[in-house]
């Protein structure tokens, strides 16, 4: 069969996939909105338990990583393979750091018994149970997407090294970038909704 290439079509496919992700998280935001409207006080108290500094750091590094991916595409378009690889490596490292931070954050919450099903949590009342239930589900699914992103970046770096992705054929890089920005987009909303309620 003749090889048929359509970068715009490929990108369109990626965007459509991103829409499914947006709606998947979107429904979680709907759930969040409903329960927050029912338990505003408990959500506020729950928010106070989260570490704003940690959250802000993760927000900042995730934004930086979004920029490095975007730049790596520009670098690729200009034919600067080395720079593209460096930028992607930085992105990868940031992704891992993000997860490490998450690990410590979650660990602390487990210690206090805020995890679903913990007896301490069950004593705190419905609003708090729902807040932390949502917190773990939403940041958990988000973290899962970071993991997938890491896998994609490793693949892309490998393909660039083999020159399978190059200056005139880099739609894989672009699509991985799009996916990573999606992960960032979700975080842009998660951060204020969980960490910044007062």
């Amino acid at each position: 069969m003749t090889v048929h290439r359509d970068d715009l079509g490929d990108k369109m496919g990626m965007w459509l996939f991103i829409f499914t992700e947006l709606l998947l998280f979107g429904m979680l935001f709907v759930v969040y909105a409903v329960y927050r409207s029912m338990h505003p006080e408990a959500f506020k108290l729950g928010g106070d338990e989260l570490d704003v500094v940690m959250g802000t750091i993760n927000t900042i590094i995730l934004l930086i990583s979004s920029m490095t991916v975007a730049m790596s595409i520009s670098a690729m378009q200009k034919g600067n393979k080395k720079l593209a690889l460096t930028l992607l490596t930085i992105t990868l490292i940031i992704a891992v750091v993000f997860l490490v931070n998450k690990y410590f954050e979650w660990g602390a919450k487990f210690e206090y018994g805020f995890n679903p099903g913990a007896p301490e949590l069950l004593e705190l009342g419905h609003g708090t149970i729902l807040f932390f239930g949502l917190y773990f589900i939403m940041t958990g699914i988000h973290a899962l997407h970071i993991l997938i992103g890491i896998a994609l970046f490793i693949y892309v770096v490998w393909q660039i090294r083999k020159d399978k992705i190059h200056q005139t054929d880099y739609v894989w890089l672009e699509n991985t970038g799009l996916y990573w920005h999606l992960v960032d987009l979700i975080w842009i909303f998660l951060f204020p909704l969980f960490y910044l309620i007062h």
């Binding site: 290439r5 990108k11 369109m12 934004l63 200009k78 204020p192 910044l196 007062h198």
Partner: protein, 94 residues
């Protein structure tokens, strides 16, 4: 073989975009430390919306892509907001 011309976004632009995003993050952290009641959430959401729009337009290249892409994204956002609204026809009036 791809026929479309690609717009190359300069490194400087990317850096400026990041700067803007960081500043907005700072503002939203600062604003939400004030006591403004429900306005806090509103402000935080507006800022998050602006940040999202910036990421979509520059980092995700919507600004440089065919118009149809931006149209699709807006349509999806509208559908989502309508679903949210219709859901609250129930929860706001229970």
């Amino acid at each position: 073989m791809s026929e479309e011309k690609h717009h190359i976004v300069s490194y400087r632009t990317h850096a400026f975009v990041l700067l803007a995003l960081l500043v907005l993050t700072g503002i939203s952290v600062a604003i939400t430390q004030l006591e403004m009641g429900p306005m806090n959430t509103l402000a935080a959401m507006i800022i998050a919306g602006i940040k999202a729009a910036i990421v979509l337009a520059w980092f995700m290249h919507l600004k440089f892509e065919s118009r149809f892409f931006a149209f699709m994204v807006s349509a999806v956002v509208v559908v989502f907001l309508l679903v949210l609204l219709v859901t609250f026809f129930d929860y706001s009036y229970r």
